[in-house]
């Protein structure tokens, strides 16, 4: 025998080796009392000796245990949907809409109403009124009985009469995807006997007592381990997982982006979730009549409605620029009036660029690079591709000789550093605040061509009124899509989910994507 036996293995094997007929099977229930082991030890011991090939296994039978779910317990207390409906109809006919209103989810009511109608328990008469036309269907009565019984002690499905089993399975089928009231747990019963040619003998069970288990403080103090041998551990067996926490994978992705940008020399900007339209729109030369400024696109604040720190803003210079009056900028402007009251309106920040316009107005460093990873809000119907709030990464670069070609260079650098793509295409684009404007498209090895972000040189209409005379590169990136791909998500709402199982799915997807990506080794690590 290659390895000495563990004490649990020895206790477990003893009944098999001491039996009169070594070829007969013993059930797992029988092994317990015979070996003197606890049920958990029996379970563990069986796994251990099975994996070593000492025992062979036979499946005797399976039984199905009925247990009420949380919904089942609730229904037991408050009544089944069908019961509540029939109870409501006891006093005479009622409109269907009344019956639906009895339940928070009208679709639950509709299903139950349909089932009751099919079973002949009720009928629909003129005017959409429901009226009783029979008793509760037998399935519902049985369900209540089973709920009650199984709430007290587990009920074995196979021990029920055939008709009842049939009724229950029909009920389960009809309920379909809807959360069930009764949970079915399958339990299997197995037997074991000694495998042929194990070479085991009773003598093997008696040896090995002198072997040591885990190292203990006492052992170390008394040096009792000296001259002894440690019992080998079956290293192939499953080990219990340690309790562990985890950082949010999306947030970790944002940290990674932040790290890239800091290493590229960008300083982080932060600000309030609420901005006046002035910094969010006007200072960025977005015309006051622009569609992105109407109330179907932005979230306005109820109280207070307007900002109070406007005396500190370069309102006049911005207003003159919008109106096309020189100075400070030679422009035709938007050729429409500028309303300072609209500029003061408060809204939930709709784009991270609001932070850039504020930074530009505060005598930024030249050369200077600034970035933000800002929560932004958009007035959209929330669905798989639109979240109510989301993160935007964006930044600005101030440099005496910043130009269109350095803008392209920066974008190539960002695409490589942040998205890990080499192949890019620069597409002409339009944004009210940049000219020229570029959309950065990148070729992702798995997703194909995708839009990574927008960028451009800020118009003089943006920079001059804020007191900046050097060219400024501005860029923004949609990082949520990149994150969704990395985290294996198809629904953007999952980035902000509270469902812990979805969250652990994200953690696993992140681990997978990490193992897929090439792990570069630094030249210093290689042997010389």
């Amino acid at each position: 025998m290659s390895q000495p036996l563990h004490p649990v293995e020895r206790a477990l094997l003893r009944p098999f080796l001491t039996r009169e007929d070594p070829g007969a099977f013993l059930s797992s229930e029988e092994v317990g009392p015979l070996s003197g082991l606890s049920p958990a030890q029996v379970q563990m011991g069986l796994e251990m000796v099975k994996s070593r090939g000492f025992l062979e296994e036979r499946l005797d039978r399976e039984e199905t245990l009925l247990k009420p779910t949380d919904q089942g317990l609730q229904a037991l207390e408050e009544g089944l949907t069908e019961e509540i409906i029939m109870e409501a109809l006891a006093g005479g006919p009622r409109p269907m809409s009344d019956l639906r209103a009895l339940f928070p989810d009208p679709s639950v009511a509709s299903k139950a109403l349909g089932a009751l109608k099919d079973a002949g328990s009720l009928k629909i008469v003129e005017g959409g009124q429901a009226v009783r036309s029979g008793d509760l269907p037998p399935g519902v009565i049985l369900l209540r009985k089973l709920l009650k019984m199984s709430a007290e002690a587990p009920v074995v499905l196979e021990s029920l009469p055939k008709e009842e089993q049939e009724l229950l399975s029909q009920y389960q089928r009809r309920r379909g995807k809807e959360k069930g009231l009764i949970r079915l747990d399958v339990r299997s019963f197995r037997s074991y006997r000694l495998a042929a040619d194990t070479g085991l003998s009773l003598a093997d069970l008696d040896s090995g007592d002198e072997l040591l288990g885990n190292v203990t403080p006492e052992m170390l103090q008394t040096r009792s381990w000296e001259g002894k041998t440690f019992r080998p551990f079956s290293v192939g067996a499953d080990a219990p997982p340690p309790p562990q926490g985890s950082l949010h994978p999306y947030r970790e992705f944002l940290e990674e982006v932040r790290g890239h940008l800091v290493r590229l020399g960008f300083t982080e900007m932060t600000g309030s979730l609420v901005e006046p339209e002035f910094w969010n729109m006007d200072a960025l030369f977005i015309p006051q009549t622009h569609p992105a400024r109407n109330i179907h696109d932005i979230y306005l604040i109820s109280e207070p409605r307007t900002a109070t720190d406007f005396p500190e803003w370069p309102m006049e210079a911005v207003a003159r620029t919008h109106e096309g009056k020189e100075p400070p900028v030679s422009t035709r402007g938007w050729r429409q009036g500028f309303d300072p009251e609209q500029a003061k309106r408060l809204l939930m920040r709709s784009q991270g660029t609001a932070l850039s316009s504020r930074t530009l107005s505060r005598s930024p460093s030249v050369p200077g690079k600034y970035f933000a990873i800002a929560r932004c809000f958009r007035h959209d119907q929330v669905d798989a591709t639109h979240a109510v709030d989301f993160f935007q990464a964006e930044g600005i670069v101030l440099e005496e000789d910043a130009s269109f070609v350095t803008l392209l260079g920066l974008l190539a650098l960002l695409a490589k550093e942040i998205a890990g793509v080499d192949q890019v295409h620069y597409k002409p684009a339009y944004f009210p605040f940049t000219e020229p404007s570029v959309e950065l498209h990148a070729h992702h090895p798995e997703l194909g061509w995708m839009e990574l972000g927008g960028a451009g040189l800020f118009r003089p209409e943006v920079t001059r009124p804020l007191g900046v005379d050097v060219p400024v590169i501005a860029w923004g990136m949609g990082i949520d899509r990149m994150a969704m791909f990395r985290l294996g998500l198809s629904d953007i709402r999952d980035l902000f989910t509270g469902d812990l199982s979805v969250l652990s799915g994200m953690v696993r997807a992140e681990e997978k994507s990490w193992s897929r990506s090439p792990q570069p080794s630094s030249p210093a690590d290689s042997p010389r």
Partner: protein, 587 residues
């Protein structure tokens, strides 16, 4: 952003060389368009147009024109421009504008287009262009609306026309798609277009109409045409096109675009003069707007030492009718002498606001991919925000204690942060125009996100140890009584398992504070949603709230449908760090 649908063969019929579907995406770079969809069976396409400032591109004709280089098709010159230039000043207007219209719809312009044929595809295209211009460029017809009429329809239109105000009850006509005459007010009340756009005129005592010299009503602008004289059919060869609005430049631009489009379709356009009151519009016509591009600006934008030699040539090939080298400014004008290029804007565009716009067109015409990227050279030292450094210290502290991080939406429903936490909504920051009640307030606490997660995760193996760090907001009352917005920076954690109690979470808070060298001295205070007597708070020496710990009340757990004990903590990070010397605050 406008989306354009069309037929590839139709587009190709307006180009010197037919384009294949595969080359479209790159070709459309020149019009800032994206090839969104193509059905090989029907050869129909969808193009998304990104330049909201170039309505001339929102049509098949416009895209084809720009791809051709901005000029007319051979044999179909934009002759109406010279015709408008030659027009004698004294000639009587074809459209007489009643000065009273200025209070409702001050500007109108129009032209005749004759001798062409639209066909089904062309008519659909024209209606589509008209709709996009009115809806997007005209902001749902508030600033601009367009009407197209057959010159020789059921009744032939007789000039001069009159644009005047009429009594909404006494004036009657048959609106488009109907059979019998109705009063203007009835049309606004029940016709689909009337219900959609009626509010643009309904507050006025009398409403604008266009009628011809025989008194036949052509339309109720900006709402609906008449059925008898304003229903265009695919076979119509002669058209009258008008636009009304509040801004003469928009009216002119829209008519210029439509005149160019119809000329490309084989029509001959004749400009008309609309005159009266403050309105004096001869349309279509070149507004002759020029932009001065200072010499050296193209070089600066391109990052080169001198202006590109082909600057003028490339722009001329992109549709600019004239570019001349010019000197601007004299000593008398008080302006420094400057050399540069005088650039004339094409008549169908009005997006040149400043010199950089012309330079961008040069780049687009050359193709962005024809420029080699240059890496920015200046060195700058990067720095993460101090707030993020603090957040990350807190996050790693929680991670070390075996917690899992959550990230929740900042907008939430009001009940989640009021009734379901046993709190009132006095200091809530509310959205004035929520898209859904589920996202109607800014969260003032992170607890609701943690409880919501708990309520969805009963199947996940216990114990649960959750935390979130992030932004929130509330209203604070100043001593003056004024209420101001206050951004909050919070951290919160929740523990849930059969024995989850206050001491466990108190230990967590203590360990967290130790990371910032702060000491925990709790005062007993009852605060929702915690169990009275099983809740403690930490205050600064000035009495400001810093943190709360406690066991969540079963009534609250019940509201969230949670069937497992839970205890929680929440910390105001800003208040915590304001504590200063690290010796603890409560003495």
């Amino acid at each position: 952003m406008p989306t354009l649908e069309g037929h590839l063969d139709d587009l190709n019929s307006l180009l010197p060389r037919p384009l294949a579907p595969e080359e479209m995406d790159r070709v459309l770079d020149r019009v800032k368009g994206e090839w969104k969809h193509f059905d090989p069976a029907t050869r129909r396409f969808k193009i998304e147009l990104n330049d909201t400032n170039r309505p001339d591109l929102w049509s098949v004709e416009g895209i084809a024109r720009q791809l051709r280089g901005g000029g007319p098709l051979p044999g179909h010159p934009y002759a109406f421009l010279e015709q408008a230039d030659r027009r004698e000043a004294g000639k009587a207007p074809e459209i007489v504008v009643d000065p009273a219209t200025s209070s409702v719809r001050p500007f109108l312009g129009g032209f005749k287009a004759t001798g062409g044929t639209l066909g089904e595809e062309g008519l659909d295209g024209l209606i589509g262009t008209q709709e996009r211009l009115s809806e997007l460029f005209g902001r749902k017809r508030a600033d601009l609306a367009i009407g197209v009429y057959p010159l020789k329809g059921m009744t032939e239109i007789s000039f001069p026309l009159s644009f005047r105000l009429a009594d909404p009850d006494a004036t009657r006509f048959v609106p488009l798609g109907e059979e019998s005459p109705r009063s203007l007010r009835e049309v606004v009340g029940s016709h689909p277009k009337g219900m959609a756009y009626g509010h643009l005129v309904s507050s006025h005592p009398s409403w604008p109409v266009i009628s011809d010299s025989r008194g036949e009503i052509l339309s109720l602008p900006p709402i609906v045409n008449s059925q008898t004289s304003g229903a265009v059919a695919p076979g119509d060869r002669d058209l009258f096109v008008e636009a009304t609005g509040n801004d003469p430049q928009r009216v002119l631009l829209a008519l210029n675009i439509l005149a160019a489009n119809l000329t490309d379709r084989g029509f001959v356009v004749e400009p008309l003069l609309a005159k009266g009151g403050g309105c004096n519009l001869l349309t279509p016509a070149s507004p002759g707007i020029t932009v001065f591009v200072p010499a050296g600006l193209p070089a600066r934008v391109l990052g080169s030492s001198e202006d590109p030699r082909d600057f003028i040539e490339v722009l001329l090939g992109f549709g600019y009718p004239a570019i001349s080298r010019r000197e601007r400014g004299t000593k008398e004008e008080g302006r420094p002498f400057e050399e540069g290029y005088e650039v004339l804007q094409p008549f169908y565009r009005d997006d040149l606001l400043a010199a950089v716009d012309a330079v961008e067109d040069y780049l687009v015409a050359r193709g962005f991919d024809s420029f080699s990227p240059v890496m920015p050279r200046a060195f700058t030292a990067g720095l993460a925000a101090p707030r993020i450094k603090v957040e990350n210290r807190i996050r790693t502290a929680f991670l070390g204690m075996g917690f899992t991080e959550l990230l929740s939406n900042i907008l939430t429903g009001e009940p989640a942060v009021t009734t379901r936490l046993g709190r009132n909504g006095d200091s809530l920051v509310r959205i004035d125009n929520p898209a859904s009640l589920q996202y109607a307030v800014v969260r003032p606490t992170l607890l609701s996100g943690l409880l919501s997660a708990e309520s969805r995760s009963a199947r996940h193996p216990y114990p649960h140890r959750l935390f979130e760090v992030g932004e929130a907001m509330e209203l604070r009352t100043l001593p003056s009584g004024e209420r101001r917005l206050k951004d909050l920076h919070l951290a919160a954690a929740l523990i849930s398992h059969p024995q989850a109690g206050i001491s466990e979470v108190q230990g967590v808070l203590e360990a967290l504070l130790a990371r910032f060298s702060k000491r925990l001295v709790l005062e007993a205070e009852d605060r929702s949603p915690y169990i009275p007597g099983r809740c403690g708070i930490l205050k600064s020496t000035r009495g400001e709230w810093i943190a709360t710990v406690g066991e969540i009340h079963p009534a609250t757990l019940d509201l969230w449908g949670i069937r497992m004990p839970a205890s929680a903590l929440e910390v105001d990070i800003e208040a915590l760090l304001a504590g200063g010397d690290g010796s603890g605050f409560a003495r």
